[in-house]
Amino acid sequence: MSAAPGATTRAALNAAGVRPAAGAGIRISDLHLSFRGPSGSLEVLDGVDLEVAPREVVALIGPNGCGKSTLLRLAAGLLRPDRGEVTIDGQRVEGPDPRLALVFQEPRLLPWRTAEGNVRFPMELAGWPAERQAARAADLLGLVGLREFAATRPVHLSGGMRQRLAIARALALEPSVLLLDEPFSALDALTRERFNVELLRLWERTGTTIILVTHSIAEAVFVADRVAVLSPRPGHVVATVPVELSRPRSLAQLDSAAVSRAATAIRAQLADTTDDQVALREAAAVGLRPGATAARIRETAAEAGTAAWFDPFGREGD
């Protein structure tokens, strides 16, 4: 993620030994989860199915509180599902798994450690020898353009630098699947666009499979091969919308017809979600009256040739 020109950076990286890890396929099948509290149980996920191919980038989008973050935690093995399973290349995820790494909404850095110390944290936990840690940390800090800041503590880094550091830390153990939970939502819009580009560059170099949770349709469409739309709670995948956009991608492509087609289809799926801030905001931007939003957007979507509201379990509206 450095500002250095691509060619030299790539050569430096190859010399430094950052080689692509083999991305793995991840399969989420029939995932159910309820949280039991004193006032009864709350159904969060109701049969989530999602299959992500090796090296694919899939964005998860859905209304607030639909369980997107919960879904990522289940995939990362931090929570156990009531029913269903997550498998990576056919092997079941039973708990926190070295094949997966999670990047959180906040950088979650250890304030008493330097940038290098933070990147080394997972390697220390994994019991790597010191020389291997140092070499890998140097590679990773170079990868995200923070080599000069190796000895700097997080308080002295900008918000963007902290999130880059968090991404470098997530890549420490060469995971084959990277799970990102709204990683850029705290950044301003311009920085965010730049980070999307840099995330893709990082993806090209490391070759991980990526699942990105986001609130932004633009971000989802720009980054992903497919966008999975989740219903309001209890969440399940309402539809997956393919993004017909060539790679490598550039910000200029954001104005293309393929992007607006995908965005329209996503909005159509989101339109039926009741407490959905995203859909209302996006609909307003397209110039529709809020009252007519759902119906009109569904029409548009039908025209675009995408399935309208569809419930994979045929539940009646209750």
């Binding site: 990362a76 931090l78 708990g95 926190p96 798994d97 070295p98 790494a101 999670l102 959180f104 906040e106 979650r108 250890l110 304030p111 008493w112 944290f121 997972p122 220390e124 936990l125 994994a126 503590r153 308080v155 153990l173």
Partner: protein, 264 residues
């Protein structure tokens, strides 16, 4: 002999040190002045309240003739051992209390009761059980150090950001790694805060322990000076030594804190 080119750092450092220490010196002068004024105004005899000049003179003489040093050495050993034992046990118990509500419920009544019982009242009992040697003082110091450090550790570990714990768990941290690489380092400012309190209490513990029975130590010296020697300036010199010892130990903890915690 000549220094035509003084280091630029030296010239900047001199005034900076002066700037930092000037208020300390001013307040010390004010304290000594007030002390002397009270002695003069009340016209107290030296065996009630000696003036600062005579106390300092006696302090210097007692150091020069080797009266204080062996007592100080004994007391210092008691404090350091007691602080180390009490601190380590408190650290372990503090982590346990933070991680287990059951442990907190089972243990905290006893911990609070032990803390609420004045160490002054416990000291003779401990001296009775463990003799008048080093052991009883170490136990008293450890007991008095224990509570502030244990409570600070418990509060510090409990206030560790759960999001950091989740991050560490996502990297497959073991239970021990969570404690050693996340919770204790994160709680370190709080723990060292407890140790600041604890180390000054350890000084009190050692003196009280010596009063309950001992052959040597600054507490013994105070008793001697007040009793058989009836040398009140010497008693003040011993008090001055204890006060300075407390300040030095406190500063040591502060320095360790600066070194370990630094800027967060």
């Amino acid at each position: 002999m000549s220094a035509p080119a003084p280091a630029p750092r030296g010239t900047a450092l001199g005034p900076r040190i002066a700037h930092a220490w000037l208020p300390v010196l001013v307040s010390l002068a004010g304290f000594l002045g007030a002390w002397q004024a009270i002695v003069l105004a009340g016209d107290y005899p030296p065996f009630i309240l000696p003036g600062p000049a005579s106390v300092v003179a006696r302090f210097v003489r007692a150091w020069a003739d080797g009266t204080i040093a062996p007592h100080l050495a004994t007391t210092l050993v008691e404090i350091l051992l007691g602080f180390a034992v009490g601190g380590v046990v408190a650290l372990l118990v503090g982590v346990l209390l933070a991680r287990s509500r059951l442990a907190e419920r089972l243990l905290s009544p006893y911990l609070v009761a032990a803390q609420a019982t004045p160490v002054l009242a416990l000291a003779p009992l401990i001296a009775l059980w463990f003799g008048s040697g080093l052991l009883s003082k170490v136990i008293i110091c450890a007991l008095i150090v224990f509570f502030p450090v244990a409570v600070a550790t418990m509060v510090g570990v409990r206030s560790v950001d759960p999001r950091l714990v989740e991050m560490a768990r996502s990297f497959r941290a073991t239970r021990w790694q969570l404690i050693s690489k996340l919770e204790v380092p994160a709680a370190l400012p709080a723990i060292l805060g407890g140790m600041r309190v604890g180390v000054t209490l350890a000084v009190i513990g050692a003196i009280v322990g010596e009063w309950a029975g001992a052959e040597r130590g600054l507490g013994v010296l105070i008793n001697l000076a007040r009793g058989s020697l009836f040398d009140i300036p010497l008693m003040f010199a011993a008090l001055l030594t204890i006060a300075l010892l407390g300040i030095v130990l406190y500063l040591v903890i502060v320095l360790i804190e600066r070194r370990l915690v630094g800027v967060r």
